[in-house]
Amino acid sequence: SLSTQTLATNLPPDQQRAMLRRMLTIRRFEERASDDYVAGKIYGVVHCYIGEEAVATGVCSALGPGDRIISTHRGHGHCIAKGADLNRMMAELYGRQTGYCKGKGGSMHIADFGIGMLGANGIVAGGIAIVTGAGLAAQMEGKGGVAVSFFGDGASNAGPFHECLNIAATWKLPMLYVCENNMWAANTAAAQTHALGDVAMRAAGYGIPGVVVDGNDVVAVHQAASHAVDRARSGGGPTLIECKTYRWRAHTERRGQPDPRNQSEIDAWVRKDPIALLEHQLRQQGELDDAALKAMESDILGILEAAVAFAEASPFPTPEQASDDVFAA
């Protein structure tokens, strides 16, 4: 859109290219993870973020290293956007000792507290209160840090969302509540479970801003997040940002599961590919050409090959290690 075009031109091309790279990395990482899952090298369950890359990328590009986020069951994108190490991510998916969780967590539980990524979470809305505690910690630390809760449209109907929005608003916690409204919760349409189409409307009940953003427009997401971050850092309290987006793939990568969504809906959203949109914008600004894109692509694929190699070369945990880490020393 033209408006975003203008927005985009406000961002330095390097930053735009960095965002493109992040989004491409997320997508290629998950394409590989999905293949390796089907190949039996990755276990359990894998939820892909493909189609929603602009949300995590746009929000996290508005954060500093000292800021903290929490993720959902669909967590790869948030990890990568916050700067997680791809080797340790892949090694975790492969169930190896060198993984972020030493093979104890898997796809649904990747965390890296060192970079302020407080973890993926297998319970819908389960992370919202945890990261609100990180927002309280940031406020008490007094260093201007903020905390970001990513959650889905489905999670927005759960009690913790309401409880935490009220606490954050009352205590003016430096928080962003980022709803990834991909219109579906597993196999149930948001339209069936939400009284209103816009989750952002809930903000009014707590006297905080509620913003609706095109979640496939990384620049628009970045701008909305930047404003909310400024507000939070300056003691203005929390903001609810609803990003309208869509999940391209089935709820999980397990093959042969039912997917009630109709193809035309999926196709329409694939045409709104967030990566293609930014690519197009960069080309229009004369800041990206085929060569540069090709280089970026192959660079990313190389890094992912290396991550897989790292994972495959890493040892599995030993049976004895099942008894480690129940309690901290």
């Binding site: 169930g95 319970i123 919760a185 149930t188």
Partner: protein, 324 residues
Amino acid sequence: MRELTYNEAALEAIAEEMRRDPKIFYMSTDALPPLLKEFGAERVRATPITEAALTGMSIGAAGPGFRPIVDWRQVTFCFVAMDQIVNQAAKIHYMFGGQVSFPILYRASVGGGGQVAAQHSQSPYSMFMNVAGLKMFLPSTPYDMKGLLKTAIRDNNPVISFESSRLMGRKGEVPEGDYTIPFGKADIKREGSDVTVVALAWLVHEALAAAEELAKEGISVEIVDPRTLVPLDADAIRRSVQKTGRLVIADEAGPTAGFSAEIAAIATEDAATFACLKGPVKRICALQVPIPYSPILERAVFPDRNRIIAGIREVLSGAKAAAA
């Protein structure tokens, strides 16, 4: 006889009961396609992801005469509803002096083995056993599943159907049409004379495999499947132990304050049973840890036929030691 999977048996029981009684309706965060197709969106409701609200709503719909089924799906999702389970559903009949009944079925899959890590690999039924006012069961076969679910749906109390995720696809003989299995009646899944193994769900099958193995050495294993956890058939368990003199308990859950501890207690607090015990009881359970993701770790945590065999050998040798 016709065979169904454990999961198909459950759906058949529910569908048959829903045909029989229009007061039954079903709530879950995704509607099960076969039920939705047959009974429509009014009786098979896809809901927001609010297990707490669904659990409470089932109580408020049951009081006025409906017979709700709330499918929590994986048991881990019911912890958000624990207040409604422990403080409301379990107590409301007693607390209000029994003035009305609350016929509710809650469904929850339990167990691990799918490398879905700590949050999605849980067997917490013992936590619910500790709460007065809830009935619950955990079937090991498609046959038991259908018969127990029908009993549960016709029961006038909140009942939890724990269902083993490991067994969902497992086939077994299931009669067409109507039959029920009473609560509080254990099933002897295999008769034996040397040692009693009390086992649940998937471990019933592991115990059967262990028994086959040991039979080759002339060791005769009796396998008792309580099927219902509340009410629990203490008599059947005690009778078996009085016969064999030895007790092994096999449970996919961790041991601490668990089902396995309760079985050990009901055997050893009963004078007649204690008098027959030839050696210490043995619990074959998961390690008392959250369930890890990586397959090697996960296998290390869960009990299986080999650990059951080792446990049986231990109680037998222990007994010998004592005799010697």
